[in-house]
């Protein structure tokens, strides 16, 4: 079996940072936002745009679900919807920015030779 969560060995804080926060977390965000959006679509009373929204949520990962929750969700409380999206973005983009800062600078022109 592949190593747990695809982590390289040795498993260090840096590996956890990059694989868990930058690789796995977006999948979780996609699943969370899409699930909530589809639940809301199923429970809303009007049928207007339901199919189009559903397609957007599923076929445009992350952006579709976040867009729907921020602008069109009906049954969830607004504060909850915004908290879900904003906090999700925060816990993803902050580690992403720090990760890019850590790994993106010059390491030497033959860093992977």
């Amino acid at each position: 079996m592949p190593s747990l969560f695809s982590l390289a060995i040795p498993i260090t804080a840096f590996q956890i940072w990059f694989v868990v926060y930058l690789y796995l977390l977006p999948f979780l965000l996609y699943a969370t936002w899409a699930s909530l959006a589809i639940m809301d679509l199923g429970e809303r009373a009007d049928d207007t745009g339901r199919v189009r929204w559903g397609a957007l949520v599923i076929l445009v990962p992350l952006v579709g679900g976040a867009w729907y929750l921020l602008t069109a969700a009906k049954t969830l409380k607004r504060s909850s919807r915004f908290a879900i999206v904003i906090s999700g973005l925060f816990v993803w983009l902050l580690p992403l920015a720090i990760g890019l800062w850590l790994a993106g600078g010059p390491l030497g022109p033959k860093a992977l030779s």
């Binding site: 840096f14 902050l94 890019l100 850590l102 790994a103 992977l112 030779s113």
Partner: protein, 547 residues
């Protein structure tokens, strides 16, 4: 504006700011002048590597201080210097400076701390820009390579006190025969078609004492080096640069500070029956050639950062019947913009044993090799390699991994054929592919137990319908994680100077009396039969040289 709209606006700004921050911190979007071709020159203590470089008109040379001392580079004619480009006369360790060469010509250069200002002694080098004929200093003009031996033998030290004296006296086709002994010298060969041979591979030892740069550097076509050892050089053991026709046979190179046995910008060559260990970069390296027409056959690379490394080495490049064990990483083919002729492509890797990659701390290494540590075979940003019938076992991370690379350009890794390999015992995955654009690769008939992404071989078989499950990003993320860790200084490598001495190695058949064959049309004479090579097993190959 409603509260909802303001919140949406704020959210959008937050996302945009975060992305901008990520891009800014990541160094994206920087504008720079794009040279037409770039070559890297390392500054060691105290010599340049490579010391002779060719770049096209408009190309550039990137100097990087890979030593422990301060260095620089000044043109002898004062037309350029690293001081002007870098802004300081001292380039400290890891500093880089890029010089662009807009005009054709020959530009000798020197380090003002470690050479004479006329560029004739000490830490010196030459940049050749464009198609200019160049005669290395100390040579006797431009001599033609010859196809047959003259029968003349020049003995060291009986006839000439040093190897360099013997080499300087030799004519094309001569044999320079070196007697048993320890030779503390750095030899530069410019005469074509000569053969340097030791009478005993294990008793003819060039020793750099960790002060000299390279054991033997060859700048002449058709030169063969046979049956000797080079150790303890700050750069390379044996090194051919910008030549056509070369051969290294029955050589041993250990505990050298960059590469063991090395060809750069050279074509039509062969490394055979040779051993290299204890190099922090790679035991064997072939760089910047297209088409290479180079073969590594029956070589052993151990206890190094990489067993074999090939950067931008393309076309008729073969690694066969060889053994790469106990390295930080076994075999790497890679693409970099920092050498000419990217991308690396068309390398054939057949019938090799690659084992114990990244599993112990006995291997030498340096920061760059740690990014790939733990991989048996890594195809990094290269195209159209054939990896077949290899035995790849006990890799700390991936047995065979295909990933792209981001240098000045983004180089996806595509078109590889990976089949009939035995790949087992890998810590992360036996077969792995990662990154955007990692498409067009196929995997078939490999003996393996795990892959990332799952179903890699089942969905990307050779000659079958391939589904778009070619790669995921987890392999890239592990590399980025390794890079971040290295940038944070959280890694340890073993010092090449303290690696143990290998056991005695086999001598050339015939010894001093072996037939003298100048290294001309080497590739054409080989007549490789790739179909006859079978998948090796550990027990069927010669035992590991125990350190």
């Amino acid at each position: 504006m409603s509260q909802s709209a303001r919140l949406v606006g704020c959210s959008a700004k937050f996302v945009m700011c975060s992305l901008w921050l990520a891009l800014a911190l990541g160094g994206c979007g920087k504008s720079e002048v794009k040279p037409t071709g770039t070559v890297l020159v390392s500054m060691a203590d105290n010599s340049y590597s490579p010391a002779i470089v060719h770049v096209p008109v408009g190309g550039s040379v990137v100097f990087i201080n890979a030593g422990r001392n301060d260095h620089n580079a000044f043109a002898v004619d004062k037309s350029w210097s690293s001081e002007k480009a870098f802004g300081n006369i001292k380039m400290r360790p890891d500093d880089m400076s890029e010089i662009v060469f807009p005009k054709e010509g020959i530009y000798p250069f020197y380090c003002s701390f470690h050479a004479t200002p006329d560029g004739k002694a000490g830490m010196v080098g030459v940049v050749i820009v464009g198609n200019v004929e160049y005669t290395p200093p100390g040579s006797r003009g431009i001599l033609a390579a010859v196809e047959s031996a003259t029968g003349v033998t020049r003995r060291v030290p009986q006839d000439y006190p040093t190897i360099q004296n013997g080499v300087d006296a030799a004519n094309p086709g001569d044999l320079v025969l070196i007697d048993k002994g320890e030779y503390t010298e750095s030899v530069f060969v410019t005469t074509p078609s000569i053969t340097l041979r030791g009478v005993d591979r294990n008793a003819v030892v060039l020793d750099g004492k960790f002060e000299l740069g390279t054991g033997i550097m060859v700048g002449g076509n058709g030169v063969a080096i046979e049956n000797m050892t080079a150790r303890n050089y700050t750069l390379n053991g044996f090194y051919w640069t910008a030549v056509r026709g070369f051969r290294g046979s029955y050589l041993t190179a250990y505990n050298n500070g960059d590469y063991g046995i090395y060809a750069f910008g050279s074509t039509d060559g062969l490394f055979e029956h040779s051993y290299a260990s204890g190099s922090p970069d790679s035991a064997f390296y072939v760089g910047q050639c297209a088409p290479c027409r180079v073969v590594l056959n029956d070589v052993i690379g151990e206890y190094s950062g990489l067993g074999y490394s090939g950067t931008n080495s393309s076309g008729d490049m073969y690694i066969v019947n060889s053994r790469f064990t106990h390295n930080r990483s076994g075999i790497s083919t890679s693409t970099f913009d920092i050498e000419l002729s990217p991308p690396g492509r068309d390398t054939t890797i057949i019938g090799n044993v690659i084992s114990d990659s990244g599993l112990d701390d006995e291997a030498a290494g340096f920061y760059a090799t740690e990014t790939l540590a733990g991989n048996g075979i890594a195809l990094v940003g290269t195209h159209n390699n054939h990896v077949e019938r290899n035995y790849v076992v006990r890799s700390r991370n991936n047995g065979i991994v295909v990933v792209p690379i981001l240098d000045r350009h983004y180089w996806p890794s595509t078109g590889h054929v990976i089949r009939n390999n035995t790949v087992l015992g890998s810590g992360r995955a036996d077969l792995a592919a990662g990154g955007f654009g990692t498409i067009g690769n196929c995997f078939s008939a490999n003996v393996y137990r795990s892959s990332l992404p799952w179903g890699l071989e089942a969905l990307n078989g050779c000659g079958k319908l391939r589904l778009p499950v070619a790669s995921d990003l987890s392999s890239d993320m592990t590399f980025f994680g390794a890079i971040a860790q290295i940038r944070a200084g959280r890694f340890t490598v073993s010092d090449y100077r303290t690696r143990p001495t290998p056991l005695a190695q086999v001598n050339i058949p015939g010894g001093a009396d072996a037939r003298v064959i100048p290294a001309v049309h080497v590739f054409a004479d080989l007549k490789l039969d790739l179909d006859a090579i079978k998948t090796p097993h550990e027990a069927s190959q010669k035992p590991l040289a125990k350190l």
